[in-house]
Symmetry: C2
Subunit: 205 residues, 2 copies
């Protein structure tokens, strides 16, 4: 099957598999069955076998999957066998947390710029980063050819900032502002909003 | 249709609708069509009508939905017409950001306790919160009858902390640690992991 045709739902599960596999590799494990992987990620073994079979023949009946081989293939499919530069827009609490987060690099990402519009923050440091002026964002992102941004700006500013990111050539936005963004069809947006996640659980309480 | 039978996929969309509707209400709007709401949240009007019809008769052909009525109903269905106390476990960068976040209260939540195991952090303040000793977590959460926790601990500690949360009576965990948790079937877990979200987008770059 053509990898381009893999459904977005399957693609959404691949990073979960990759994360679990990387954790197993760190523990020194070498092979895993679909059953074991399934228990680790809370997805049925049959679903995992089906998902993985979408992009080729892996594993043998009874011996399980080679963890390192599966990691390699998943990283290639998800295009994280390289390191992507990421811009952080908004140097508030969440922006700080993202700029300082140590968990990105072994998963394919590196924060390389942080922007804010607050004159009191511009020029200040977050560890090694100097907070840059939002007014220079389009120019700086474009000249560095950055394709990915994480937005931690207030909801009221989010659409305007997103428009500028699109103008700068960004194609993937992880949006922490609690608002849906309108972007052209060739730009992907993912949302992180803790209150939305919490509300999804309170229904069941 | 019995509300208990609404599928988890639909439940997952309701907080998105609610967020958009609350934003419209703040702007002073009073009615909205499924078309308009759909454009705002990136979901088809037909899907929205179908989702909303699962829990009763709303709106009239041609006049759209009453925003305030729909907000009221969604809040009742999601059980956020009240305020839930939430414990934050882990007082690192993300824990700080969550403890200080102003956006929870109008969406049904209030951080009421923050825990950490680091002796240098215990007793310190985050705004009005005094960071409590993780060793006292089970007892304090249980006696305050807290049902919801946000976990921002390192991956290596996450399962152990989750086990203690379950022991304390927590039924909903928002997990920021990049690891899948094993919990009993009556406990819900949602995950926030920016690298996973980013990897889901790099596939398309």
């Amino acid at each position: 099957m053509n990898i381009d045709k893999i459904s977005d739902i399957i693609i959404g599960r691949l990073p979960i598999y990759l994360r679990a596999l990387q954790r197993m590799a760190e523990r020194g494990l070498r092979t895993v069955s679909s059953q074991e992987l399934g228990e680790m990620v809370g997805i049925s073994a049959a679903q995992i076998r089906k998902d993985i079979s979408q992009f080729g023949e892996f594993g043998k009946q009874g011996t399980g999957y080679s963890i390192s081989f599966l990691i390699e293939r998943l990283r290639a499919i998800l295009k994280v066998e390289r390191i992507w530069d990421v811009a952080v827009i908004g140097a508030g609490d969440v922006g700080h947390a993202l700029a300082r987060y140590q968990g990105f690099v072994n998963r394919g990402f590196r924060v390389s710029m942080v922007f804010d519009s607050d004159p009191q923050k511009i020029g200040q440091k977050i560890d090694a980063f100097i907070i840059q002026d939002l007014a220079r964002m389009v120019e700086m992102i474009r000249s560095a050819d950055i394709k990915i941004a994480m937005m931690t700006v207030p909801a009221a500013a989010a659409q305007e900032v997103a428009d500028k990111l699109v103008q700068a050539g960004v194609k993937a936005i992880l949006n922490y502002a609690p608002i849906n963004l309108n972007v052209p069809p060739d730009v992907r947006v993912q949302y992180i909003d803790p209150a939305t996640h919490l509300q999804r659980m309170t229904y069941y309480l």
